[in-house]
Symmetry: C2
Subunit: 217 residues, 2 copies
C-alpha cells in the first residue's frame, strides 16, 4: 500500500528541515519505505478536508490504505513498529527506546518551542529582553541533564533508534541559537544524526520542495 | 513481577491529583495491575540514585524486574501494550489511540504547561498581566480544535483508551482556571474520565499519601 504524507507547500523555515515532515521522511528513509508527499498550503491546512485528517490543522499526516494518522511522534512510532530498523527486538530495550521518543517530545522539546515562541512571536514585546534569559535557562536546564546522561556514548541507549531520531530532530531546532554548542557532546550527537544517509535523503527531499529544485545525488 | 512506581513524598499540588504519578496509577487501575509506590523527596530526586533511573530528575518512574522506565507517556504506553483494557485490538484503531496519547502530550499539554508557568513562576513579573491573555489564547486555540473534533462523542475515537486517559489527565490541569468550562463538551469529557472507578481509586491513593490518611471506600 502506498504511504502518503503531507508537508508544507512552503515551509516557514524556507527548507532548513525544521518542519515536522522531515522527522517522518527520516523515519521512512531509515526503514527503506518509499512514500509520496501531498503538499498543503497554510489556507488548506485549516479547511475541513485537512481537519478531518488532522484535528489541529498541522502537518505532517500519514495515510496508508484505510489508516489515517496525525501527530509526528505517533507516525514515527507507527513506522518504527511496522518496519525493522528503528526499534530493538529485545522487549526491554524496545520499551527504553520508546521512552526516549516520549522524552524528546514531552520533556526536551517544550522549553525549546517556548524559546522559539519567545523569539519569533514575542520578540517585539516590551518584556522580551528581560524575559529571554529565563526562557533560555529552562532550555539549558534540560540540555544539561540530557548531556549528563548521554556522556560520551554515540546514542542514548545502545544502537541508533527512533528515540535518537526524535531527540536529534528536537535538538536541531537549537542549531542556530548557539545554545547547543554549550554542550559539545550534544552538538556532536546532533551532527552524528545529520550525517546518517537516511537523514541526508530526508533533508534533501524537503529542501527540494522549498527551493523548487529536484534533489541531487 | 512486582511493579514499583515513584511518586512525590509531598506533591506540590497537595493532593489535587495533578502530579504525573496519578496518570500511571490510573493506567494500572484500568488494567487491574497491583503496584507498589516508592516515595521520593525533592532532594532525592536530584541525587545520582534517582537520576540513574530518571535522567531529568522527575517522577514517576516504573520498575518491573530488570526494566526501568521514566517518562509518563512511555510508562502508560508500556502498561497499555502489556495488559488488555487500554488499547483496541484492531491494528488501525490501536494506532489511532496511540496518536491521541502523543497529541495529548505533544500538542495539547505544552500550552497548558506554559499557562502554569506564566501563573506560578512568572506571576510576579512586571510583564505578567499584559502577557497572560496571549498565553491563555494559545490554550484556547488548542481547546477549540479539540472541542470541535470531540463533538458530542463520549471519547475521542471509539471506546475509552489510553489516548483518552492521557487527554483527560492533561485537561485536568485546567480545571481550576475556568478555561475548561468555556468548552462544555470538554468539561463533560473530563468529568466522564474522573467518574471512572479506576480514576477514583488512583486519585484516592495519591490523596492518601498527601494527606497522610489511608484511602477510604
Amino acid at each position: 500500500m502506498t504511504i502518503t504524507i503531507t508537508a508544507f507547500e512552503r515551509s516557514p523555515d524556507g527548507g532548513k528541515g525544521l518542519a515536522r515532515d522531515t522527522r517522518v521522511r527520516w523515519a521512512l528513509e531509515e526503514v527503506g519505505q518509499p512514500y509520496e508527499v501531498r503538499l498543503i498550503s497554510f489556507g488548506a491546512m485549516k479547511e475541513p478536508a485537512h481537519l478531518a485528517l488532522h484535528p489541529f490543522g498541522q502537518i505532517p499526516t500519514y495515510e496508508e490504505g484505510d489508516l489515517g494518522l496525525f501527530e509526528t511522534g505517533a507516525i514515527v512510532f507507527h513506522i518504527a513498529q511496522r518496519h525493522a530498523g528503528l526499534l530493538p527486538d529485545d522487549a526491554n530495550a524496545r520499551a527504553r527506546a520508546i521512552t526516549w521518543m516520549f522524552a524528546a517530545l514531552s520533556t526536551v522539546e517544550p522549553p525549546i518551542l517556548e524559546l522559539g515562541t519567545a523569539r519569533l512571536i514575542e520578540g517585539d514585546k516590551p518584556w522580551s529582553a528581560e524575559r529571554m534569559p529565563l526562557v533560555e535557562d529552562r532550555v539549558r536546564n534540560r540540555l544539561g541533564q540530557l548531556s549528563h546522561r548521554l556522556g560520551d556514548a554515540d546514542w542514548l541507549d545502545g544502537p541508533f533508534s527512533a528515540g535518537d531520531l526524535m531527540m536529534v530532530s528536537v535538538l536541531l531546532r537549537l542549531k542556530l541559537s548557539g545554545i547547543l554548542d554549550e554542550y559539545p557532546n550534544l552538538a556532536a550527537y546532533v551532527a552524528s544524526g545529520e550525517s546518517r544517509p537516511a537523514y541526508k535523503r530526508a533533508f534533501a527531499a524537503q529542501l527540494a520542495i522549498n527551493t523548487g529544485q529536484p534533489p541531487t545525488g
